[in-house]
Amino acid sequence: MIRRLGLVAGRELLAERRQPDGLVAAVTFIALLVLLESLVVGPVSARQPAVAGALFWIALAFAAILAATRSFDRELEDDALDAIIALPGGRDALFAGKVLALTAVLAIVGAVGGVLSLVLLDLEVALAGHLLLVTALGVLALPTVVVLDVVLALRLRARAALVPILALPVLIPQLVAATQGSASALSGDATGSLGWSALLLAFAFVYAVLGFTIVPAAIE
């Protein structure tokens, strides 16, 4: 199982390297969103920790949706997906592998986007360690939900619409937690950021368990 999971994730990342649609799309998306915001909002309000954090996490959520959708679009061309699903244990490995790969992609996107926002908005970070922790946990919390919803919307009409409708409400608690967490890390409130991190961890755990147990049943 672990082996197959690794294979799927590896294949995914290889395809990403070849045609970095998802990844580059997500990175540019987040970078441009941050850049534009700071441009049009004006640095003053954009530099408030809450605003900056919110901006970053919303962008990251959309980036995740973007990347996941692209990756499944690619699978649907020439029915590549069918080849995997028809294999024994294909469904489970597919879901888990996609989640793993998306996490890796998001980690990169998050890193780039995070550094960008810090530089562009030159925010000063009170608690770098805590900020890192919150970001890592946030990156862990998003992918399961996103991939799950992409799978549910697979091959349906208007899936491009359905995925955000399904995913974002479910993600709101995580996004709020991540935003508050990074805001308090920026402004130096250690206990706050730790509390929010714990919440993020809990969410990541719950959805991971749920996803891996029930989702494969819904893949065709």
Binding site: L162, L166, P173, A217, A218
Partner: protein
């Protein structure tokens, strides 16, 4: 479908009795909440909207938990009537959530001076509403039965996580909204006994109404299943 005939017969038998009971309980609770229960010390009569607001919120919770259970049932047994229960309960739950939202904002106007504010419980409730609208949307967009049922079941299981979030949101973030006064971890209800009684009666009434609507909707859904069955045979 052999799997649908059993529950359908059951549904048909209990539905009329549920209807009668619901009407009776509704009229009693209406009397109690409008006339029998004393006015509130600070809010006067405005507070009486609580007897609609709170039960509908709680019944929304119940409905979504039922969706969760039915979804598990479908994924486990693949018996069609589980899916019927899931869709029925989801629709009613959305209804009650809307009721809680409306009643809440009607109540908010006089007490807080605004229809709506960005406040954890209000927002989480609204989010819960959107979530289950999304659930119904997914059902409408997926075409053939098995696919729809499985995907909806997965979503129904995932979404239920939000119910405790709504309930606890007031505790996580400092909130304008009423803190739990009845459903409290520590100690008993902190509410005037006659008000509490009225609240409990109206909760009972709402529960019966929920049960009746559920039975009715499940009946419709099962009939639809049998139509597909007929289509398949001929």
């Amino acid at each position: 479908m052999t799997t649908t005939t059993f529950p359908r017969a059951l549904v048909l038998r209990v539905r009329p009795w549920l209807g009668i009971a619901a009407i009776a309980a509704a009229s009693i609770s209406t009397y109690m909440s409008l006339l029998w229960a004393p006015p509130d010390a600070m809010q006067g009569d405005v507070y009486r909207i609580m007897y609609v607001h709170v039960p509908s919120a709680w019944l929304a919770y119940l409905a979504f938990i039922v969706v969760f259970l039915a979804s598990v049932g479908w994924l486990w047994t693949r018996q069609r009537w589980f899916d019927a229960v899931a869709v029925a309960s989801a629709e009613i739950g959305v209804l009650f959530t809307a009721l809680a939202l409306v009643a809440g904002s009607i109540w908010a106007k006089p007490t807080w001076g605004v229809w709506w504010t960005w406040e954890p419980r209000l927002v989480t409730t609204a989010v819960m509403f959107v979530m289950y609208v999304g659930y119904l949307l997914l059902r409408n967009l997926s075409t053939d039965f098995v696919r729809r049922a499985s995907r909806a079941a997965v979503l129904g299981i995932v979404l239920v996580v939000d119910v405790p979030v709504v309930h606890l949101s007031v505790l996580w973030m400092n909130s304008l909204h009423q803190l739990p006064t009845v459903l409290r971890a520590s100690g008993g209800p902190s509410l005037d006994s006659s008000m509490l009684a009225t609240l409990l009666v109206s909760v009972a009434a709402f529960t019966l109404i929920y049960a009746y609507l559920l039975a009715a909707r499940v009946g419709i859904e099962l009939r639809r299943h049998e139509r597909i069955g007929a289509l398949r045979d001929g």
